[in-house]
Amino acid sequence: MLHISTLHYMVLSAALFLLGVIGVLTRRNVVIVLMSIELILNAVNLNLVAFSHYWQGIQGPNALHGQVFAIFVITDAAAEAAVGLGILIAFFRNKETVNVDEVNLLKW
């Protein structure tokens, strides 16, 4: 328990991923669902950077592929958050609610 190995970071990343999944599946507020998605992406980023650190021990200081991947994931999260919040604003303007339960215009 005292020496922090790669497995510690993987377990932490899995726990954060589970918290994000619970947030996406159980909350009614769209803003909180979007924030849970950001939590999921952060868990994945932590995993990637932890593995990059692991490979640096094997291949030398230039095995930074995990960190580059994490930078791309952050970029992607920014784009997705912007578009998701734009959709939220458009929906709120029409229906005056932020609950995912009430996004049911296509229901028969």
Binding site: I4, L12, I22, L25, I71, T97
Partner: protein
């Protein structure tokens, strides 16, 4: 020999902050409270990146994620009137199924991690990891991953246009 930066105290402190922040994000009734808890979790994650000898990603995380994306979230929360949503029921009707699915996924994670514990053994780390980090990331980003870099900038352009079009009153 590397000075031992990855002390267990900092790891458990930062990971405890992240987990508490995550739990607060998914359980708070007020959306602003959730956003602030997420900012705390992101800053703790930047600390964990520093422990993993990744100062460039830690800087990107603080500037972009905590300072850009979360500020965008807070702007939208202030723009959208959430007063009425705060008084309603907070959790779905299918919250039990959601927690069961997350529990199944957690069981899968536990099985995989206990069976494959020895796959990632510890290696001796080379010295001077922080000194060459930004140069190394730059070499990879503009060399091997140049195509992905250009596609990411195209993605950001599309996201800008999409966000502006979605939020306009009259297109």
């Amino acid at each position: 020999m590397n000075p031992p930066v990855a002390t267990p105290f900092f790891f458990y402190l930062l990971s405890g902050t992240m987990l508490i922040g995550g739990i607060l994000v998914i359980t708070r009734r007020n959306a602003v409270h959730s956003a602030l808890a997420l900012i705390a979790a992101l800053l703790a994650q930047a600390g964990l990146y520093l422990m993993l000898y990744a100062p460039f990603v830690a800087g990107v995380q603080i500037i972009l994620y905590a300072g850009g994306i979360m500020v965008l979230f807070l702007f939208v929360i202030m723009l959208v009137n959430l007063e009425r949503a705060q008084k309603e029921r907070q959790f779905n009707k299918q919250w039990l199924v959601g927690i069961a699915a997350a529990g199944a996924l957690g069981g899968l994670f536990i099985t995989i991690y206990t069976k494959g514990k020895g796959i990632f053994p510890d290696h001796a780390m080379p010295s001077g990891l922080e000194a060459q980090n930004t140069q190394g990331v730059g070499v990879l980003l503009y060399g091997q991953y140049m195509f992905a870099f250009e596609i990411a900038s195209l993605l950001l352009l599309v996201a800008i246009i999409g966000a502006v079009v979605m939020a306009k009153k009259r297109i």
